[in-house]
């Protein structure tokens, strides 16, 4: 059946999203609304009628754009939950609007855009000061972004 199929792909860990009963979602968890990966910031459930199912109102923030999105769904329906991964990389360079990154295994990665706004400014400043920086990259549904950075722990 469909259900078994989706479970298999979710277990394989390669899928960008997996289904979850709307009523099982939680505040601060993730959900897909209007094809965007979001973090749930508020959730309210209606009282139930004759057939014993409720509606769930979700308020969520797009994890990449910060835009607020809302959804109203029957509690018994499945919603998609994005697989969200966080990885830390050492910052090697900021070049032409892209970050040059390296992971713990020494593999490099040059396809993540340098963040804009305040985060971008403070990252650039810290990098220009010659600090050794670790950048956290969040990834979901084929999209990636730098969301924070910190000074690398000194080993000496």
């Amino acid at each position: 059946s469909d259900e078994e199929h989706t479970f298999e792909t979710a277990d394989a860990g390669s899928s960008a999203t997996y289904p979850m009963q709307c009523s099982a979602l939680r505040k601060n968890g993730f959900v897909v609304i209007k094809s965007r990966p979001c973090k749930i910031v508020d959730m309210s459930t209606s009282k139930t009628g004759k057939h014993g199912h409720a509606k769930v109102h979700l308020v969520a923030i797009d994890i990449f754009t910060g835009k607020k999105l809302e959804d109203l769904s029957p509690s018994t329906h499945n919603m998609e939950v994005p697989v969200v991964k966080r990885n830390e990389y050492q910052l090697l360079d900021i070049d032409d609007g892209f970050l040059s990154l390296m992971n713990m295994d020494g593999d490099t990665k040059d396809d993540v855009k340098a963040p804009e706004g305040e985060l971008g400014d403070s990252l650039q400043t810290a990098f220009d000061e010659g600090k050794d920086l670790m950048v956290t990259i969040i990834s979901a549904m084929g999209e990636e972004a730098a969301i924070s950075f910190k000074e690398a722990a000194r080993t000496d």
């Binding site: 059946s1 469909d2 259900e3 009963q21 009523s23 309210s44 209606s46 009282k47 139930t48 009628g49 004759k50 057939h51 014993g52 199912h53 409720a54 509606k55 109102h57 109203l72 029957p74 509690s75 018994t76 329906h77």
Partner: protein
């Protein structure tokens, strides 16, 4: 709608218990049926809170039960009995026992009162249930009593605590629990039990609710075979669980059942309300086509079902009464 109208939109959070009662009993004489149903379900949420707000819950039970006295709508009274059974509030039991045994109440209302006593798990009602199980002239009432007695015995006899049941997606208290997971029954096995007239009705219901909880298209097709059964009560419950599952896969069989000229009103009524709960686009024209049905409970169910369709497809969070 104008701002003036909007100002007078009643919201459940702003409605007092007395306002909800007045909407439910149609005190103004102008309240539309759909809104009376909405008020009923909002009173239910108060009646359930007997542990934290005993006085208000008691009042809510009294107000809900007022409709039994003189109301002309069999559908509304049956829904009132259903709601009382869902409150878990044993204050509702004496009224329900009275209604179940009152031959001036319609069979559908007596049936629902019996089911409600089973839902409450009220041991003190066993004598009256046994009496009605033998003496009620209507088979649907007698069958319901049999189920209710079984459910009460299952609840209090120790079986409930031993069994491993799948947690239901729905907040309803059902006439029978699903078959326990340790039975590990396949869909064909469940379908065979569902349709076996030699099995006790309670067991067939347990197969029904297990299939509901499986909820796949295959399970829905298995459940739909139950519409060929002889028992009206049994068929009406199939329609009810279809309304719970909410899947468009159940729509064709529900449309067929609603259209059966010789079918019992309680079955056609439940099919109509299930279509409203599924609320897929194709149900609107079907439900509208029965708004002049000669059977009262079918016609009224279509009104309520179309309102449920509106609610399900609206941006309203709550199924709360409105001003119109």
């Amino acid at each position: 709608s104008t701002n003036f109208e909007k100002h007078f939109q009643e919201n459940v959070d702003e409605c007092t218990l007395e306002q909800l009662r007045d909407i439910l009993v149609n005190k103004s004489g102008k309240t539309v049926l759909a809104n009376r149903f909405r008020a009923l379900f909002n009173l239910k949420t108060v009646a359930e809170e007997f542990a934290t707000k005993p006085e208000e819950a008691k009042k809510a039970i009294e107000y809900i039960a007022e409709s039994f006295v003189n109301d002309k709508s069999e559908l509304l009274k049956h829904e009132v009995a259903y709601v009382l059974g869902q409150t878990k509030n044993l204050d509702a039991a004496p009224t329900l026992r009275h209604v179940m045994l009152d031959q001036n109440q319609e069979p559908m209302v007596r049936h629902e009162a019996a089911e409600a006593l089973g839902a409450l798990g009220d041991k003190d009602s066993l004598d009256d249930l046994n009496k009605a199980a033998k003496e009620d002239p209507h088979v649907a009432v007698r069958e319901t009593c049999e189920l209710a007695i079984n459910r009460i015995n299952w609840t209090h006899g120790g079986a409930k605590d031993k069994e491993n049941l799948q947690q239901s997606l729905y907040s309803s208290i059902d006439p029978a629990p699903p078959l326990p997971l340790e039975k590990d029954a396949t869909i064909p096995e469940l379908q065979a039990l569902l349709n076996d007239p030699k099995q006790p009705l309670f067991q067939r219901y347990r197969a029904m609710f297990r299939l509901r909880d499986i909820g796949t298209d295959e399970a829905i097709l298995a459940l739909a075979t139950g519409f060929s059964a002889e028992s009206s009560l049994f068929k009406h419950e199939i329609a009810y669980v279809f309304g719970q599952i909410g899947s468009p896969a159940a729509v064709p069989s529900l449309i067929e059942v609603l259209g059966r000229k010789e079918e019992a009103p309680m079955v056609r009524h439940e099919a109509a309300e299930a279509l409203g709960a599924i609320a897929s686009p194709e149900v609107v024209d079907v439900l509208k086509s029965y708004l002049n049905d000669e059977v009262d409970v079918v016609r009224e169910s279509c009104i309520v079902a179309l309102d449920m369709y509106d609610y399900e497809n609206s941006n309203e969070l709550e199924y709360a009464p409105t001003a119109n």
